[in-house]
């Protein structure tokens, strides 16, 4: 394994009944990078996430996360979905520390860390609010804080902003980039939105179904920090058009 890789997949494959959800996949993810995965439904991206998070076992292959074999084991990645999955009976603070509670007791250092995150990322005034009092964007922030608070180096984000309106979504994307830069985590990000993938990432993986596989692997060398101007730059448009063509070629369009 190269020293800069945090995650190394070798020959990972998965078949359900007679459908090849994921054909043998090799993948190296660089420590601290932001990698997006785009592709139509059935392309195996959710299967890949389920394998990485330990929910399902691959049929073959090996996964090495920070030099540990993690096949079939849970509790080693941060994980976030489109649904914020905040629990209504816990406050913002209680939701951010949910990971610690699920592993045992919430200690003072867990609380301190959670309060630190909340204060730094605009939730400081809402620590003792119940989720029902928060807007959709704020709820997703809390969900991301909860993911960060598990203190895993690798974060799996599965369309986290898919349910937000365009305006909020853009704010959240910039906010996510700030959090990512500050905390130096490694992010794997599933999305349907090609703009989102290119805007956020260092690297975009394009996947295709039947059998699920990676058909393109693009470096995104757009300068950071990325802003509104990034979205209208020619380089952005070029990358976006390449991804779109890849996606549509694969669909036979």
């Amino acid at each position: 394994m190269s020293s800069s890789s945090i995650l190394e997949l070798r020959g990972i494959s998965k078949t359900f009944a007679s459908t090849t959800a994921l054909s043998p996949l090799d993948l190296d993810i660089e420590r601290g990078s932001f990698v997006s995965i785009v592709g139509p439904s059935g392309c195996g991206k959710s299967t890949l996430f389920n394998i990485l998070s330990g929910l399902i076992q691959p049929d073959n292959g090996s996964i090495s996360l920070e030099d540990q074999n993690v096949i079939g084991a849970t509790g080693h990645v941060g994980y976030m979905l489109q649904k914020d999955l905040l629990v209504p009976w816990r406050t913002v603070l209680g939701n951010i520390t949910l990971g610690a509670r699920l592993k045992g007791k919430v200690g003072p250092e867990d609380k301190e860390q959670a309060m630190g995150f909340a204060q730094k990322y605009g939730l400081g005034e809402f620590l003792h609010h119940y989720p029902s009092a928060l807007s959709g964007g704020m709820r997703q922030r809390v969900a991301l804080m909860r993911t960060l608070a598990t203190n895993h180096q690798l974060l799996l984000l599965d369309e986290p902003f898919g349910a937000l309106d365009a305006q909020t979504r853009f704010e959240m994307q910039q906010w996510l980039l700030q959090v990512w830069r500050d905390t130096q985590r490694t992010v794997l990000f599933i999305t349907h939105d090609v703009d989102e993938a290119v805007f956020l990432s260092d690297r975009v993986l394009v996947m295709s179904p039947r059998p699920g596989r990676v058909v393109d692997d693009l470096r995104v060398d757009l300068p950071r920090p990325r802003t509104l101007d990034t979205l209208v730059s020619p380089a952005f448009t070029d990358l976006k058009s390449r991804v779109l063509h890849q996606l549509h070629r694969e669909r036979g369009a």
Binding site: S53, L81, V87, R101, H128, A133
Partner: protein, 270 residues
């Protein structure tokens, strides 16, 4: 809840009870109803207060039967709900039995219970528990079955074992449902105690007191006892509602209560 809403919540029910009593009074007075058919409401209430020294110990017994039976039924009901949810096989084995328990006419249950348990407090407790456990089981089972699957998946990914998932997520998630079962049970609990007293009392009880009042055409005593029994049921129901209020602050507040100095709670308008 705003102040206005709070006042409405308190005075609304009082107003409707007063109107009801007024209607009763009007029918009895203007309809020339004979006193052995229906007393005036005030006479019914006085029949209770003037005989309070006799009624107080009987009332206390009924309250005890209700509370004991209710607690047994509630815990048993919640436990069964969890068992049915956690052990799918049990749904096949136990569910038909549970339906069977509720198909037995509750009055027909009393004679065998007297044979087994005698005339003491036990058969009444069993009857109350018998009635109360079922809605609690059904509601807890329903609550547990509807816990967000994705939330449970998330907890698994976070590395939580099944015990932690249950305590931290499933139990609190089912609490709203639990209370709807508890409230239904609360309205039935006193009914169960009185049925038990009617069918399984040898000495004195509220139910027998009413029966003897009926035998001597003491309408005020009969109606008064009914009011007394109803009051027990209502008070118990309100206590359960109060427990729900305390146990589920997130359903009415936007912030958690902070016990530290200087922190102000924010009230929502609902």
């Amino acid at each position: 809840m705003t102040k206005k809403k709070l006042l409405l919540n308190i005075f609304g029910p009082i107003l409707s009870v007063v109107v009801l009593l007024g209607l009763w009074q009007a029918i009895v007075v203007w309809g020339n109803v004979a006193p052995y058919i229906a007393p005036k409401p005030w006479d019914a209430i006085r029949a209770v207060t003037s005989n309070w020294s006799t009624l107080a110990p009987l009332t206390w017994w009924t309250i005890k039967e209700t509370i004991y039976g209710y607690l047994v039924g509630a815990f048993l009901g919640a436990f069964l709900g969890v068992v049915l949810n956690k052990i799918p096989l049990m749904q096949r084995v136990l569910y038909p039995l549970l339906i069977l328990t509720q198909a037995i006419p509750i009055i027909a249950l009393a004679p065998p219970l007297v044979m087994i348990l005698g005339f003491g407090v036990m058969p009444k407790v069993v009857i109350v528990a018998w009635i109360v456990f079922f809605p609690v089981t059904v509601s807890v089972l329903d609550g547990l079955n509807h816990v967000d699957k994705d939330l449970m998946t998330l907890a698994k990914v976070f590395g939580a074992n099944s015990m932690r998932r249950f305590v931290v997520l499933e139990m609190p998630a089912a609490i709203t449902q639990l209370f709807s079962g508890l409230k239904i049970g609360a309205t039935y609990a006193v009914t169960g105690a009185i049925i038990g007293e009617l069918a399984a009392s040898s000495g004195s009880s509220l139910a027998l007191y009413q029966r003897s009042a009926s035998g001597s055409l003491d309408a005020a005593g009969v109606y008064g006892t009914t009011l007394l029994m109803t009051a027990i049921g209502i008070i118990w129901f309100l206590l359960v509602v109060g427990a729900e209020y305390l146990a589920t602050p997130w359903q009415r507040r936007s912030t958690a209560r902070q016990w530290r100095r200087g922190a102000k709670p924010v009230l929502t308008n609902n």
